[in-house]
Symmetry: C2
Subunit: 359 residues, 2 copies
DNA sequence: ATAAAAACTGTGTACGTGCACAGTTTTGAA
DNA sequence: TTCAAAACTGTGCACGTACACAGTTTTTAT
């Protein structure tokens, strides 16, 4: 069963070179003649060499600097969960020489994001984990990373026209599609639907919210559902203004029976409905943040979709380490599952997800 | 950030003994005076020593033999998924000296199970992963393992009055409860419900099926649902006889609108219904086996509950390694999540679960 | 043709643990 | 008191890799 593993030394012998040369080939360090390299590569292929990761870890002398760039977050929020997942991986690889830092920007201020991206580019680091909000700015950022040959990994969502080492995100379109399905299941009448989407300053780039909206509409179309759909404005930066906005909306539209919140702020609408004592409107949201869970438990949210952010962070960091340190092949596109959570399942779900990471 | 890790050597110095003595204390190998042990233990506590896992792996000389005892299985079945998970862990720890063997019994023949258990007890091994069907026999088996001080881990379900290192299973009661909830959601009329449970030879011990039934009934009770419920007999050992059994049942009970299959053989009922061209009966099943998935995709099963068997195997094996090799603290009770899968979500679910393990 | 530079190659060490073995002290029986 | 056995303790090696450094060969410039 446990046949003797092939070592660098064995490969050196088979290829008729020294261990140092094999090492140079394996790590692509240069200073190897074409003849030697070919000989070594031939043997490597023949024996399917896989380095002993324990020995690699031990012998690694270089310090590896990794940065996490993401929107600002507080405890229990979506991005905090991603961060927690990253820390979990760091804990697992505590015996490897790694330095890690997070650096955050205001997700409602594209200029702050740019500023932070520039700051990162000036920092000496070996890899970046990116939580992107602004498509175009992130593209530019990535192209500069490409130039500097700094690898990067996406969490939360992919960014087009970039070449990340890996991407860990849920399928936002399917998320919206699922929300349509659930909304249709929980609304037992023919009333109208409201869609909540954040008002963002400047041009609204193709982000997760848009994809979710497309998925939501697609479900309704496919099923031939002909409910009237309203867009409900929503102020993410100044939440205290929302009560007035919502009041105005419901004054005009009295026949709304279901609301879909396409970002993680479902609890704001939930609390509004509670405060106005409106009870017959079904609410579907995204992300198992602490306030969302509270609203779910109270019954003011009917269902939440979980995107497994902790696992995203965990896996992103792990992929990066495998790529950087262990030179292992990495799967680029990784779609995380969407969890449907209701009042009845939230407790078992929470308990479980506290302990569990997907891998 | 990366402060110098404390080594065995450092502890030896701090405790005023040699590295060998520290090693003996850490691994509980005896041959240490009370005075030395106390000194070392004091330092260990103070510095919160955690051995470098890579060095441990490298230096470990002993071969560790692990056995997996489970019901017989073929490719794509429930127990095969658990096995696949175990193999995944073995792959991850390929650099550790491990030997692994599976040994299976007929889950419908308690005598075969006993015979296999006896065989295991005669084999020299360091730990056992147990997939239990027969409660009482497994208890006896475990007590004998206890005597021989051989640690064991459960997958699929827990066994009372035993002291496993860990247990990885889903909550079968909640599974049944969920099935009740789903059944209630998909049945849009007041027709009756059928429950399928395997006829097992000899005494039917408290297994997962019974727990699921209790959960199912509990949901209906809680919601005050007053549907008539029938028990449908089911021959697991001779499936070709089931057509006649089912024919007889449906002749007598024409008003059944939903069927719950409490084991992984939902596809058998699904195929029966298809063959008789019965279309208006909703079917809920357990486990994402290949034939069950096929029936789900065809639409003859409305929903399946997944128990994450791959993750169970993966985690069980990993816990065992952490316990045996790395002397890490292990969480004993580990409840795996239940996934609700429908025709719409099966593709994304399958693709994902092929790559993903919970951890 | 010769020296210098560049390209290439081999050797040797550190990493921290598990464990074997040799060496030392304590215990206990005669 | 003596000596063997038991209990205890310290030393040193193997594990396979990454990487530094010294040494060797080839190329290039004069």
């Amino acid at each position: 069963m446990q046949q003797k593993r092939i070592r660098i030394k064995d490969i050196a012998r088979l290829a008729g070179v020294s261990a140092g040369t094999v090492d140079r080939v394996v790590h692509n360090r240069g200073n190897v003649s074409a003849k030697s390299r070919e000989a070594v590569e031939k043997v490597l292929k023949e024996v399917n060499y896989r380095p002993n990761i324990h020995m690699s870890s031990i012998s690694l002398k270089k310090m590896c600097h990794i940065l996490f760039v993401s929107p600002k977050f507080s405890a229990g929020e979506y991005w905090d969960s991603i961060y927690t997942g990253i820390l979990r991986t760091l804990d697992e690889f505590e015996n490897i020489r790694l330095s890690f830092k997070k650096i955050t920007y205001d997700q409602y201020d594209v200029y702050d994001c740019k500023r932070i991206y520039d700051k990162v580019l000036k920092t000496k680091c070996n890899a970046v984990i990116i939580g992107s909000i602004f498509q175009k700015e992130t593209q530019d950022f990535c192209h500069q990373l490409d130039e500097k040959e700094i690898p990067y990994v996406f969490v939360d969502s992919n960014v087009e026209n970039t070449s990340p080492v890996a991407c860990f995100s849920s399928d936002h379109y399917t998320c919206g599609y699922l929300m349509g399905k659930i909304m249709n299941a929980v609304m037992h009448d023919n009333r109208e639907i409201g869609i909540l989407q954040a008002m963002r300053i400047g041009n609204e780039s193709a982000n997760s919210t848009i994809l979710r909206k497309n998925g939501f509409n697609a479900y309704l179309d496919e099923c031939g559902i002909k409910r009237k759909i309203h867009r409900i404005p929503f102020n993410a930066t100044e939440p205290e203004q929302n009560n007035d906005i919502f009041d105005a909306f419901f004054n005009e539209n009295g026949n709304v029976g279901g609301i879909v919140v396409l970002n993680s702020r479902g609890h704001i609408m939930a609390n509004y409905l509670s405060s106005r004592n409106i009870k017959n409107i079904k609410l579907i949201g995204v992300d198992l943040t602490i306030p969302n869970i509270a609203a779910l438990k109270k019954g003011s949210i009917s269902a939440l979709i979980g995107q497994n952010p902790k696992s995203q962070g965990f896996l992103a960091m792990r992929s990066l380490i495998e790529y950087l340190i262990f030179k292992l092949p990495i799967k680029v596109d990784n779609i995380m599952p969407l969890d449907i959570v209701t009042k009845e399942t939230i407790d078992i779900y929470s308990e479980f997800k506290d302990l569990v990471y997907l891998q």
